[in-house]
Symmetry: C2
Subunit: 214 residues, 2 copies
């Protein structure tokens, strides 16, 4: 079972690492980070680099594809190579997945038309503009397409997918070993729960690259 | 405000990325990944590489230190360089922090003696063996020493620390932007909550490197 995690300049690190940490230890899993060119890719704020060990061409038939998001996700599609690769590998994947605005990358590549899917709360309207039934749910399964909401939701998606693939007992073991017993010190993790003025502030200015508070 | 995140061969990726994603966007933050030698470091199961942009010697006075864990954390101390660096920078840090078995690295470097601290649930006894008041709490503040439990708890630690550093409003903004509204599909994230037989199975075999289910 090959799991391909897509990297591109400006990706959000936790978008990739949530699914990675929950899926890469599944029995029989072989995980590979893939990008247009192998080598180092910087994250959205430029302070982290991860390596892509393989080029898109080297990963032709992954069983699972994971597409992380970015504040500037559509930049990943500039050369056309990522969209072409996604459309190609999607013909044979068992699961095609995304976290955060990774769903915009899937949708802009033509893979989510008419399907239910989610994204970061700030981008749900943009997702709908691709003919997607956009929902604010945290993890959405529609046939083999699995999408997760903003950044940290990839952990929940990874565990749900681990359960579908390997059964509840394995998924529970993974949850126990990563000690995923969340105790956030605030209750501000969704636009419904955060203070209204904070939500309005962020709705007013789309986050692009760089520091959130710069 | 310089934030130094330590990398070493075999680190657990989410241990580093939880604090990274919650702290690196703080106002005025400059984040640097640091290791004995700059360059690529492989994670615990060998399928992910992150880059250290700086050597230990190049990061002499960080304000915040983050030490991620590993199933084989003490291997990070083999040459003595990491312990020497931690003891040195700790003299001037504002916060010295760890996630998961990163607390074993701090403790083995002599920095947690007599303090309250936490670790991954499988390693609480080992932590106590260093003269630490070991507790199973998820995030523990003792003066400037902040320790978090297993792997995913670094997200909770990062948010708590963001609040101390920059105030509740900034921390809530970060939580909202990473959409940290956890909805795990199982309730197995701690030894108290997971099925007892799964807990016993993992207590019986300490996880070293490689795939959990190999």
């Amino acid at each position: 079972m090959q799991i391909a995690i897509l990297l591109y300049p400006g990706f959000t690190a936790l978008d990739a690492i949530g699914p990675f940490e929950t899926l890469s230890n599944l029995p029989g899993a072989e995980t590979v980070f893939v990008a247009e060119q192998p080598g180092a890719l910087r994250n959205d704020n430029g302070t982290l680099s991860m390596l892509a060990d393989a080029s898109l061409a080297e990963v032709a038939r992954p069983d699972i594809v994971v597409v992380p998001g970015s504040p500037n996700a559509l930049a990943a599609l500039e050369t056309g190579a990522v969209s072409a690769w996604l459309r190609d590998v999607d013909r044979t994947t068992t699961w095609t997945t995304s976290v955060c605005t990774g769903s915009l990358i899937l949708a802009a590549s033509g893979l989510l038309k008419g399907r239910r899917a989610t994204s970061h709360w700030l981008y749900l309207e943009e997702l709908a503009s691709y003919g997607v039934e956009s929902t604010g749910e945290r993890v959405v399964f529609d046939d083999k397409y699995v999408t997760a909401a903003g950044v940290s939701s990839g952990i929940d998606m990874g565990l749900a997918l681990a359960g579908r693939i390997a059964g509840d007992r394995v998924a529970q073991s993974i949850q126990l070993l990563i000690e995923y017993d969340p105790q956030p010190p605030y209750d501000a993790g969704s636009p419904e729960k955060a203070p209204a003025d904070i939500v309005e502030e962020w709705r007013g200015r789309k986050v692009e690259t760089g520091s959130l508070f710069a």
